[in-house]
Amino acid sequence: MTDRIRFLLGTEPREIADADPTMTVLEYLRRIERRRGTKEGCAEGDCGACTVVVGECTGGGLRYRAVNSCIQLLPTLDGRQLLTVEDLADPETGALHPVQQAMVEAHGSQCGFCTPGFVMALYAAHQNAAASARTLREAADRIAESADTPSPSNVIGLAYAMDQIPIAAAPDRDAVSDMIAGNLCRCTGYRPIVDAGVKALAGAQPTERDTVLFAAAAKHLATRRTTLKLAAAGKRYFAPVREHVLADILETHPDATIVAGATDVGLWVTKQHRELAKIVYIGDVEELKAVQEHGNGWWIGAAATYTDALPAFADLHRDFAELVRRLGAAQVRNCGTIGGNIANASPIGDTPPALIALGATLHLRRGKETRHMPLEDFFLGYRKTALQPGEFVTGVAVPKPRGDQRFAAYKISKRFDQDISAVCSAYRITLSGGIVGEARIAHGGMAETPKRAPAAEAALNGHPWDETTMRRAMEALAHDYRPIDDMRASAAYLLPQCR
């Protein structure tokens, strides 16, 4: 058991035992560390002003990801390296990091309030792009020179993980826009920021300072093998690393809130001001992070982030990958999980319609008992699911569309990126000789849960796959859904859209 949070702030080790477990990383930085370069623009993951970079060991390796510090809970940093805008410039010479320099030269800041967030979003990309074998050798040399012996597996792992993240040598404007889609700027109109990103990331090379930061991570970060348990501010926090331990903890504490990526739960804290007395963090549970291809399908572990699972989505169907590319933005996808998206049971969660159409099976566990069910059966009513107290999602098994099956998914939202859906729809049509064998249609945003469209499916099944059939199915949708007016869109808009 471990009873304090240990992480690296830049190059400095930190140990914290008494912090409120629901304190956000942003609050910690601004209030405790008084590192005030990181800004709060919204406290709900939408604006990116609070973007920081987190380095973590995965599969024995290290990788860097941009996250929104405003909705990340401090204890989830345990075993990780936290980099903020203050870490980038060389502390001795004051030399700016290439990402910072490019922002200055491209006139990428006006009021400057969004700037630290943009810098960090681009910095995460730069770190991953810049990681060449040379750097890693340098890091290894540097570590070898230092007094303490680091675990060599970390250094090797570092090399391994860096190679795993393919970043174009010179990302184009679209690629850069994708990296910063989670950052809002009200002043510049983005063009100069994209210019800066393109410039800074072309042929990115690590700076002297980057190497120092890598080396610190390689030296200090080690994968924790025991459960982290905290008790402070009248709250308790558990972070197991094994699935069976998680099962035990949840059985003992069925009233605990499960936290995975905190991209939903974080907002309960910052916006709804809910007091979460007991938290079980599942982001360190190795088994739940698995993403594996087997036979004609994929297993996606509940705690796999969107970023981790992207290869699976891409392999399942390009529409699915595109749907996920438009889910939140990089910072949200780097934390948010499939398990969270499902268990949160929002009627507008983006992955359930696609998963349901693909015929995914949901796997659950309580104590030693496991069970599974078609995903659509999990959703019982508005934010109501079949999840029992003490039970958790372990993952989803998703069959790949066969050769005789067509799949398509669409998302309609007010903004292209970083916006919740007005409607999200997914279809898998099995055809045999021009006749629809089986149609699976699912929608988000049309009812109080992600929901299939039995009437439209019936209108398709057994009929020729042509325009007449399709029109009939479109009419039938009116029997499947009775959408409501809300701030996302009006009912009058939703039904025709969905057709």
Partner: protein
């Protein structure tokens, strides 16, 4: 020409660019709080319109975390932060007029504690009928300010005689400013009831005056400082005052520093937005699309108080011509009172809404005639020698729009693109493309002439470095560096010798808001005036030392030189000091030629420089 670095017309990075990218630029919320500082939370009305039957904050006050609870009764001075006209209570007193209106405030060690304590209040309302939309307000004749009318010629007759006529209705929605840095203020009490307020505001002088009024102090007791804002966009022209004043009230009562920073959600609920409009029009035109007669009705939703709604709607009225000559025209502007948050300044200040109205009319004409809207725009443009007087009587000088548009249409290959768009649309049943080329005429300067003034304060130190201060505020537009460039050019010294300093009401008093596209012009001129005053004194010193006439001196390359002899700028500063000559000056500037059309109904509304 000077070879010193950073003069006017050089394209420079923002003065804080390096600090922005390093995270070292200090915003109001980043100032390190002194020991014992508190944070405040403002509780809001849930009702859009209602009488407060009961407001019991005793449980809030009893909360051990609460250092102070403030209600309307706890305001020692005037319980109102209306900028021009009253109507914006600091704390609701008996009546609430919008959902989100401030009821009371709590200060505690952290805003989370303050919020928790505030939730213990008991509030009971008698709900009153609420007017929320423009149409409801029009139907109820709920006018906040008198309706204004602008009329020229005989629009009724022109409409009656026009070969073509159209009429219709257009809705223009509101908009939140979404300055990335939300509303924030930090008040630090001093001795003798003094108060220093760090406020994220475009209008420090107004915050100062309103804080003084609320505290029942003299203006001189209050100092407001703004180094920078994380964006303003008009949303911090008047709206910052409420929060600065509440922070000051709490600081005054507790004798401890108090910060008030709004959560984004609260900010969106509590602060005013762009005015939304409903526009009705009737237009008469000929076969070429030339407008012969136009009647426009602009109905703006102002919310519950006047705030800046008068001038915002004036500007909508004065921009309803946009770039087009309207011979026979009537524009009616209704300023509607609704039970919604009080709408406020927002980039363009009503201008965009007025322009949207006429641009929509033009689009409708084009559709009706089956013509390209650009042709209709081109046809109706103001002329250079005839058809060049606005409905409010200002002659348009320097009208380059006709050539400019012709140039643009050519260089952008408007016609070619139009053909491409049409080809695409012919083939695409669902997705459609569009294309527009639209001129804009926009009035620079405040419509209220009085406000077109600015002050600056310049000191030269004996090492030749310069301290620059002026009344303009920095919100990302680069004003500070521009004004510094003016001063550096004037003195012929490197820009890095000019120290940019935070806007502070103790240095330059009684300033106007940084608004109306006037910041650089007004403050740049004021700073230039101050620099010139010092320059003249320094020239006298240098002339005596070099034995030349002052007029022969050139200030350049960090030197003051004449006839092959030169003195370092700093050297002359030192000599001046030793000769007991002041190296400090204030500068003042009043805008040249703007006269408020509403106030005087005379020609020439907008500044031409």
């Amino acid at each position: 020409m000077s070879r010193a670095k950073g003069h006017v017309r050089e394209a420079l990075a923002h003065d804080s660019a390096v600090k922005h990218v390093r995270g070292t630029a200090v915003y109001a919320d980043d100032i390190v709080e002194p020991e014992g500082a508190l944070e405040a939370y403002v509780a809001m009305s849930r009702e859009a319109h209602g009488r407060i039957r009961r407001l019991d904050v005793s449980a809030v006050a009893a909360d051990p975390a609460a250092a102070v609870v403030l209600t309307a009764r706890d305001v020692p001075g005037v319980n109102d932060v209306g900028p021009v006209l009253p109507g914006d209570p600091i704390f609701a007193d008996g009546l609430v007029e919008y959902a989100g209106q401030s009821l009371f405030a709590v200060a505690a060690r952290s805003v989370a504690e303050a919020r928790r304590a505030a939730s213990k209040a008991i509030v009971e309302y008698e709900t009153l009928p609420a007017i929320l939309t423009i149409e409801q307000a029009l139907a109820a004749k709920s006018f906040l300010l008198p309706t204004e009318k602008l009329r020229r010629g005989d629009p009724d007759r022109a409409l009656a005689m026009a070969p073509h006529r159209l009429g219709g209705r257009l809705e223009i929605g509101g908009q939140d400013h979404f300055y990335l840095e939300g509303q924030v203020a930090f008040a630090i009490p001093g001795e003798d009831g003094d108060m220093l307020i760090y406020s994220s505001t475009q209008h420090p002088s107004e915050v100062q005056h309103l804080a003084a009024r609320a505290l029942g102090r003299r203006d001189a007791a209050i100092t407001v400082e703004v180094r920078r804002m994380g964006g303003g966009f008009g949303g911090k022209e008047t709206q910052a005052a409420l929060f600065a004043v509440i922070a000051a009230l709490a600081a005054d009562r507790t004798k401890r520093p108090v910060k008030l920073r709004l959560d984004r959600d609260d900010d969106m609920i509590m602060t005013g937005k762009r005015h939304d409009f409903v526009i009705r029009y009737e237009v008469g035109f000929d076969a070429d699309g030339r407008i012969l007669g136009l009647k426009l009705e602009l109905a703006g939703r102002c919310g519950m108080s006047p705030d800046l709604s008068g001038p915002v709607n004036d500007r909508a009225l004065f921009h309803a011509d946009n770039a087009y000559f309207l011979s026979d025209v009537e524009v009616v502007s209704h300023r509607l009172k609704t039970n919604t948050v009080s709408n406020t300044a927002f980039r363009g200040f009503g201008g965009p809404q007025g322009m949207m109205a006429i641009e929509h009319v033009i689009d409708e004409i084009a559709r009706h005639l089956g013509r390209d809207a650009y042709e209709i725009r081109r046809t109706n443009l103001y002329g250079t020698t005839t058809r060049n007087v606005t409905p409010y009587g200002q002659t348009i000088d320097d009208n380059i729009l006709p050539e400019l548009l012709d140039d643009l249409a050519k260089s952008a290959d408007y016609a070619g693109r139009r053909r491409q768009v049409e080809a695409f649309n012919a083939k695409s049943p669902v997705l459609k493309r569009g294309l527009a080329l639209t001129p804009v005429k926009f009035g620079i300067s405040f419509t209220n002439t009085m406000l077109n003034q600015a002050g600056a304060l310049v000191h030269v130190y004996t090492d030749g470095s310069v301290h620059l201060n002026h009344g303009g505020t920095e919100m990302g537009q680069g004003l500070f560096v521009k004004v510094a460039q003016v001063v550096a050019s004037e003195f012929g010294i490197d820009l890095d010798r000019v120290k940019i300093t935070a806007t502070n009401t103790g240095k330059v008093p009684n300033t106007s808001a940084t608004a109306a596209s006037s910041g650089s012009d007004l403050n740049g001129m004021a700073a230039q005036t101050a620099a010139r005053a010092i320059k003249k004194r320094m020239a006298a010193v240098a002339a005596a030392a070099l034995g030349v006439a002052p007029e022969a001196l050139v200030f350049a390359d960090n030197k003051i030189a004449a006839g092959g002899h030169a003195l370092e700028f700093g050297e002359v500063a030192k000599k001046a000091w030793m000769a007991r000559i002041s190296l400090s000056a204030t500068g003042y500037y009043r805008g040249r030629s703007s006269i408020s059309p509403m106030a005087r109904r005379r020609p020439r509304c907008w500044s031409t420089r």
